[in-house]
């Protein structure tokens, strides 16, 4: 059975259609990768899966582990086993990373988790995402998601703006976490794929999944030809004509 199933999802934000009939299935135990140029709708897809209210669903449905979550509030979806490591989490003054972690773990194995992503104990007393460096933001996001123990997890560009040492720490933590779980990885340059074994990759283009292949194959094409390669793809051209 699929852990995540997105069917015919069309979404608009502030009156503009961003997703246009997205279909996506991620079976239990698999990790998939989502590629796509800037503005293709990757972040909107994540926000729609989370149920953020600025993403207005025009049509389609989302299932998590067999439950239709299309109209559930965000925290209910999280209770059903959804977790997201954000690309650009907002700073929240006065709310400590440790407070959130405590809520997520109830104190169990907290120190073991922080060690996994190389976060020193004193860091937990810092205001959430306030003045964090790029690497600190990513490690803090990964830490929180590890603490949440979701069945299905989305990592939104965990490798962007991260130096080599941090990339290794994050890559290994993500890889180990995904061993027994299902997930979706969003990556621009595929650096994280050095550490994480993915089963399948999808290309999101103009608000729609235009192809699904082995991750290595899609990444090779992007590296060689950039996203222009998609523009030339017969499937994309055909779609344009249909419009």
């Amino acid at each position: 059975m699929e852990l995540l199933r997105v069917e015919g999802l069309s979404v608009e934000i502030a009156g503009k259609r961003v997703l246009d009939g997205v279909d996506l299935e991620i079976p239990k135990g698999e990790t998939h990768v989502l590629f796509g140029p800037n503005g293709s709708g990757k972040t909107t897809l994540i926000k729609s899966i989370l149920g953020f209210p600025d993403c207005r669903i025009l049509s389609g449905r989302i299932w998590l582990n067999g439950t239709d979550i299309t109209s559930l509030p965000t925290n209910e979806r999280v209770k059903l086993g959804l977790g997201v490591a954000f690309q650009n989490p907002p700073p929240i003054r006065g709310v400590k990373l440790g407070d959130v972690l405590q809520h997520l773990t109830r104190g169990v194995d907290e120190m073991k988790l922080t060690a996994t992503v190389n976060i020193p104990a004193e860091f937990l007393g810092r205001d959430l995402n306030l003045g964090f460096s790029g690497g600190e933001l990513k490690r803090s996001e990964v830490l929180q998601v590890l603490a949440q123990k979701p069945n299905f997890v989305i990592f939104d560009e965990p490798d962007s703006g991260v130096d080599v040492e941090n990339l290794e720490v994050i890559g290994k933590a993500v890889s180990k976490f995904l061993e027994k779980r299902s997930g979706l990885l969003i990556t621009h340059l595929g650096h994280i794929l050095r550490y994480v074994k993915a089963d399948k990759a999808h290309m999101l283009f103009n608000g729609r999944i235009v192809c699904s292949e082995k991750p290595g194959k899609i990444l090779d094409q992007i590296m060689k030809k950039g996203y222009k390669w998609c523009e030339k793809c017969p499937k994309v051209k055909k779609r344009r004509q249909m419009r």
């Binding site: 989370l50 953020f52 209210p53 509030p73 965000t74 925290n75 999280v78 209770k79 997201v84 954000f86 989490p89 907002p90 929240i92 003054r93 006065g94 709310v95 400590k96 407070d99 959130v100 809520h103 997520l104 205001d127 959430l128 929180q144 949440q148």
Partner: protein
């Protein structure tokens, strides 16, 4: 009539520069008297309300206590082990005991300022005199409670605090009313003298009633190397509260810091400011204010920094959070430089809780209301104030108590 009383008599009709004007004639001046006793011997509801403003009934963890109800002083005592380090008296007793107290009396607050200072001069009801002796460093706080037990009563206290050279002390002042009190007026004049290399941490916590009016009038003067930290918290509804304490950094390397947290609920009108006057070489000032306005509350958060010495620096920071469309927060910072090298700065932000923050916390499994509560608690986070640990915990507990029932 003495000259002082005469000028005060002239000022009795003079409205304050800020805050809503009040008809002071409508309040009662007569009150039944209370016999001296320990705090724990007071009625349970008095003890509970005192606790809500940081006053410990068992006097444990406190070096001394002053407790005044209406016009009666029920307790003025230094605990064993602290005698010879500090003294606590009523200001009336202090004026009788020491001639020199007159040199500090009405010297940095002018009785002629407005009708409220005039009231404290003409219809004066005690107040505390706290003096920490030279070189004495008292690590345990002293506590003072100014309590009103009778509805519609007008209490006018005048406090005097002297930190002698090289001394160090924390004072907690809790001002509150009996649960049966609906309305009334509290006027509190306070004069602080922080002498050479002394450090005074003064924490004032207010818990009034919905229809109550409050007009503190305070000033501090700082000698060479002196530090004055003023912490203020008012987290419960009040009809009107206006204050604008001033600190004169006269000494070389004197330091002042004002930390204010206010939560305006229901129909509260809060007009709260802090003034810093930098006169000494190397003097430094900082004002940090956190204001939350809910329901129909109106908050004015003022700040005034005056740099008169070329080597002086001060910063003003105000953050306001609006929880209702009918509430308002008006941040009014003023910076005046009168010497070439002075550095004065301010930053202010007023707004509502960012949706993005709520969504983010919901994605961590918090419900919308849990997320809001967490963000508000974070906003009121007192760790930025750099308080002593025990005090930090006390204020945190009070913030938590305020927010229970709101969310």
């Amino acid at each position: 009539m003495s000259k002082g009383k005469k000028t005060a008599a002239d000022a009795i009709g003079k409205p304050a520069a800020f805050g809503p004007d009040l008809d002071i004639g409508v309040f009662e001046r007569e009150a039944a008297s209370w016999a001296p006793c320990s705090i724990s011997a007071l009625p349970k509801e008095v003890v509970q309300r005192a606790l809500s403003v940081g006053i410990n009934a068992d006097e444990k963890g406190r070096a001394g206590t002053y407790f005044q109800i209406d016009r009666s002083v029920v307790l003025q005592a230094i605990r064993d082990g602290f005698a010879g380090k500090a003294e606590i008296l009523t200001t009336k007793d202090a004026l009788e005991k020491y001639d020199w107290v007159r040199e500090y009396w009405w010297k940095i607050v002018d009785a002629n300022t407005d009708k409220f200072t005039a009231l404290a001069k003409l219809k004066w009801d005690q107040g505390y005199f706290i003096r920490v002796l030279e070189g004495q460093k008292i690590t345990v706080p002293l506590q003072a409670c100014l309590f009103i037990s009778q509805d519609n009563f007008n209490q006018n206290v005048h406090n005097l605090v002297i930190a002698e050279p090289g001394s160090e002390v924390q004072i907690i002042t809790g001002c509150t009313v009996h649960p049966n009190v609906r309305s009334g007026l509290h006027v509190g004049v306070s004069e602080f003298y922080v002498k050479k290399n002394a450090k005074l941490t003064y924490t004032m916590i207010h818990n009034w009633a919905q229809n109550f009016n409050v007009r503190p009038r305070a000033a501090a003067t700082l000698d060479d190397g002196a530090t004055f930290v003023s912490n203020y918290a008012c987290l419960k509804p009040v009809k009107s509260l206006q204050m604008y304490p001033v600190a004169y950094c006269r000494g070389t390397n004197s330091r002042v810091r004002f930390n204010n947290i206010v939560y305006g609920a229901e129909n509260s009108r809060l007009d709260i400011g802090s003034k810093v006057v930098l006169q000494g070489k190397g003097s430094r000032g900082e004002v940090i204010t956190r204001a939350i306005a809910s329901d129909n509350a109106e908050i004015n958060a003022r700040g005034f920094l005056l740099g008169e010495h070329e080597d002086s620096r001060a910063h003003l920071e105000c953050r306001g959070l609006l929880l209702s469309d009918k509430a308002s927060i008006h941040s009014i910072p003023e910076l005046v430089g009168r010497a070439k090298g002075t550095e004065l700065s301010h930053e202010a932000a007023v707004g509502r809780i960012a949706e993005e923050q709520i969504r983010y916390l919901m994605a961590r499994g918090f419900s919308a209301s849990e997320a809001e509560s967490l963000i508000i608690r974070g906003f009121m986070d007192v760790s930025v104030f750099g308080l002593p640990e025990a005090l930090k915990e006390d204020i945190k507990r009070m913030v938590d108590a305020t927010l229970v029932g709101v969310f």
